[in-house]
Amino acid sequence: MKCEWVRENVLLYVYNELPDDARYELEQHVARCGDCAAELKTTREFHAVLSELPVEEPSPNLVAASRMRLQEGLETAQQGRFWHRLIFDPGAWLRQIRFAPALAAAIFIVGFAGGIGTAYKVFGGSGGFVSSATGPASAPAESSITGIQSITQDPGSNHINIKYDTVSTQEAQGSLNDQRIQQLLLFAARNNYNSGVRMDSVDLLTQEPNNIHVREALVYALRYDSNPGVRLKALDGLGAYVKNDPRVRDALLEALVQDSNPGVRTEALRLLEPVGADSSVRSVLRKLAESDQNQYIRSQARTMLAQLPEFD
């Protein structure tokens, strides 16, 4: 046991990292134990061998050159000032705050006031903030909608809840069949700045692709939405109509050729497989098989072409 302990600590002994009592204990043991004495000798020798690689002192020239270069660098460097720190390191800024209790009180008051305000909105009912679409309520004029805040669907039901802004935030509830809900979804799919909301609306709209307006909105999303996730969702909704609707097919071909996202292109390619025999699809496939930059698309296009019956 003692020998084991010595072997574990001999390196620390050589590096002068053992406390005095352990050091004394080790020395006492080594004086009596030949094996451990040999281990200490080996460790010391190895220590000496490693020290054969010298540590250079930087030459005065190197020090001087480094200092000069640093001075030049400091001329242009900007120290992080208060505003910079406030913006980029709010954590450090907050840690410094010495008036934490006052801040906590202020946050509490603001939170309390906010809570009262919200309760007033919900229960005080200044009228039309929350309106229901279950009745034949008048649809909001599209021009008056400034943005859609959120879209949620109650799980397992057809009930959809949309929060949208006109001059102030309003809320509409109803099923997917409601005209107002559909109108808001169509608006959200095209106009919203928040891609999460666009995604939700496109997702819901894919449940109603028979509606010509809905299909148009999906084609629009596929062509113009900046978010690849939204475009993929729109693709999924349109997939079933690729056989019967030439406009859908064209949109898919356009996505296949021009979309910047390889995932969208691959999905478009997959959805176009059932209509591979179509002349427009076939010519696009040939082009892709020949010269597309994406290797996967190239090889998939070749495979699809090989599986198609020859007409020529």
Partner: protein
Amino acid sequence: MPAEAWVVPFAVGESSHPVVRRDPREEAGGIQDPQLRGHMAGQASGRIDDTLLVREAQRGNRAAFEELVRNYDQAVLRLALHLTGSEPEAQDVYQEAFLKAYKSIGNFRFECSFYTWIYRIVTNLCLDHLRKRQVRKEDAPVATDASGEQYDVLDQVPDGRSGANPERDLMRRELGKRIGRALEKLTPRERMVFELKHYHGLKLRTVGEVLNTTEETAKNTLFRATQKLRGALADMR
């Protein structure tokens, strides 16, 4: 930790290498060699005023920051030079480290010593360097000088011990090369711990502080590194 606590010189262990110029803070631990004492005097002066200098630098006083640089820059260069084996690369580490320190000195909260803080910046930059080097698997210890010429680092080292004995000099160089190669095989973190402990003489507690880890972890890493080196240099003992 109280703000001024770090001004008290903390223990920095003894370096294993006789040529190494130790950190001036070692003076507190009592250095016996008068020659080494003389070496240290250069960068030791004014270090006691670090707190004031840091405060001044935080207020935007560039002269104070430059004073801090002069206090620590030789130690920084020595570490970077030994780790990178290249003067231009050591200069890059130096430049980047002090510019980073200058830009973020406003965030320095005196939770550790300025020495630990600047070493932390330098070791992080060196670790990045070592990781990149591991990918490149460069041959050690060939280095490049400021004009881009390659040379053997060990050829540049004046050897006070071998005197006029060319045979011994050659053997020593060969040995140095082999050690260099063995060190290259360590992981960047093992290399850093070993470097700070063996070649720069830092206490394991300080190594842990610098590398943002515990003394125990630093100790285990040192064990691992030593085991690997013993394996790689088995025939040299």
